[in-house]
């Protein structure tokens, strides 16, 4: 048994070695122990969850803009677990990065770790979600509330006579769920906007992911014979909704499916004509802009606005 453990350990170390050598190209200059090294030009990008394909747009944009401006970008994946990120921040500080761009998994976990970075005068830009700490250079976020309203207004224009609406929500209690839904309902829900000719016939939870959204939509298709519109709070759920409609054989009912984010999958379905539109979060802009802020600050100390709300736009083609 002992022998086996040793073999196992050896295999483990080998794998570990293999993994890290894949990355080593990116961090040849890793070991200068926390000293801020002028001119090495390194930015740490901490993503909350690269398992969500849509966030790749954001990380790709940061990497591209970073390289454009001559920075090396170290990408960390928090794997949708808030507890991973603090140590990743510490690791980045340890590696002597010049700036940190973080897409936090929640509002508090990384606060202490980022305080440390700010104390060392490392500029920190948070994207898509704020962190509860003072001294952040800037906070760039999609204006979800405005985005929700925009969806509502688009719909009013599309169906001036109104219609029956199903609302598929994301993870309950999260900021995007509250704001996108809030904005949308403020225009469409007759309870909030007496001028609205629409009727919210049902609301279901899809947790921002495909399988639950698809299941919920299947249930609602069994319940309602007459549906005009489905608004899903992100594109992944919208894709699930479309799939449920297809499975139920009701793709010819003319149900208008609206998503949010601007994900590739959504564009594919829009091209096929089975999804109507998506509200695009401009992650490409956000990513590039975050790098620009950092770059400007490092070069001449220019400080951007502490909070920047980025507009959403409706799109039916890429």
């Amino acid at each position: 048994m002992k022998k086996f453990s040793l073999v196992l350990l050896a295999v483990f170390l080998f794998i570990l070695g293999g993994c890290s050598s894949n990355e080593s190209g990116g961090e040849a200059n890793g070991g200068n122990g926390g000293e801020k090294s002028e001119g090495s030009g390194k930015i740490a990008l901490l993503m909350a969850d690269l398992g969500n394909p849509f966030f790749h747009v954001l990380s790709d944009s940061v990497v591209a803009q970073g390289e454009e401006l001559g920075y090396e970008v170290l990408v960390y994946d928090g794997q949708n677990d808030a507890s991973n990120q603090p140590s990743q921040v510490e690791d980045a500080i340890q590696k002597g990065v010049d700036a940190i761009i973080i897409n936090p998994a929640d509002e508090s976990s990384t606060a202490n770790a980022l305080k440390e970075a700010i104390a060392q005068d490392i500029p920190v830009v948070t994207v898509d979600r704020a962190v509860d700490v003072d001294g952040v250079l800037s906070y760039l976020v999609t204006d979800n509330l405005k985005g929700g309203k925009l969806v509502g207004e688009w719909l009013q224009e599309k169906l001036p006579e109104g219609g029956k609406v199903i609302h598929i929500e994301g993870v309950m209690g999260t900021a995007p769920q509250r704001e996108r839904g809030g904005g949308f309902l403020s225009v469409i829900d007759p309870k909030e906007n007496p001028d609205s000719k629409f009727e919210i016939i049902d609301t279901a939870v899809g947790d921002f992911s495909m399988a639950p959204a698809e299941a919920a939509m299947s249930d609602l298709l069994a319940k309602h014979d007459d549906i005009d519109v489905v608004f899903a709070q992100n594109d992944t759920m919208a894709v699930g909704v479309v799939r449920a409609i297809e499975t139920a054989g009701r793709q010819d009912d003319g149900i208008i499916v609206i998503g949010f984010d601007g994900a590739q999958e959504a564009y594919d379905l829009i091209d096929e004509g089975i999804m109507a539109v998506t509200a695009v979060q401009d992650f490409e802009f956000i990513g590039a802009e975050a790098v620009n802020y950092v770059d400007a600050y490092l070069k001449d100390g220019t400080k951007p606005e502490p909070e920047v709300l980025v507009d959403v736009y409706m799109s039916d083609s890429k």
Binding site: H56, D77, Q79, A211, D219, A222, K223, D268
Partner: protein
Amino acid sequence: MEKLGSIYNRFGTIIVLLALMLIVTIINPQFLTMYNILNIFKQVSINGLIALGMTFVILTGGIDLSVGAILGFSGMILGLMITGGTPDLLAIPAVLAIGALLGYFNGFFISKLKLQAFIVTLATMTMFNGLTLIVSDGIPASGVTKDAPVLDFFSQGSILGIPFPMIIFVVAFLILLILLQNTVFGRGVYAIGGNEEVARLSSIPTNRIKTWVYVISGMMSALAGVVLTSRLSSAQPTAGAGFELDAIAAVVIGGTSLAGGRGRLFGTFIGVLIIGVLNNGLNIIGVSAFFQQFIKGLVILLAVILDRKSAR
């Protein structure tokens, strides 16, 4: 009174299921349409397949937290293989084999190295989730069923009007039922959960059986992954997250003891339907999203309390 108790013992979970269906139907008769019942069966087949495999594991006194991760990984591999041009007829068995292999990996550590199932599968859950991200680069494979008629049949097909996923679930149930009740292997599963030392000293191959229950669990999870991928026509890198909890809940509602040795596969079958009806019913009734989780938890708790009462 004692008689009533034993009736409840036999049919307790069915009573809960029927009561649940009755309540939902009273509130919204739309629930009891043939369309919706088939809809429920199609939906529960995924959790059902996982829960059937999980029952074997739990009966031995183990637990498999990695089922959702195995589902996600095998679904992703399936998606990548098919979008990469592999015929679905080939890709599906390959993916089932992968599920079995990952299950064997769990079983090896648990039986041969005598590690705790909870820890091992917690670790492998994270590992398999990681593998999914590595192979997919975090990007979903979409349009998977477009040129894959066999895979498409797994969710969209039907035989004599019965949806194919429902057929898979029922057939898997029947096969596993025979395996559990009528073979030496199945009785060994119970014996290990009852008292592993006694089983071993009764010349039952405990290590082999323990390994195999995880293989079964892994393979059933992969099969569920095939059905889900077919259903969504898309392989999501985060698919399967949290599925282990619904599966464990179904097994426990079905009266299987988490300590092992006691429980029935039929109970799991009903437990799966209870969870399915609950999910569907809450949507059909139109219960507010905030209440849904609370009610779901409450029903699970009630079912388990009733089951423990009747076991006395």
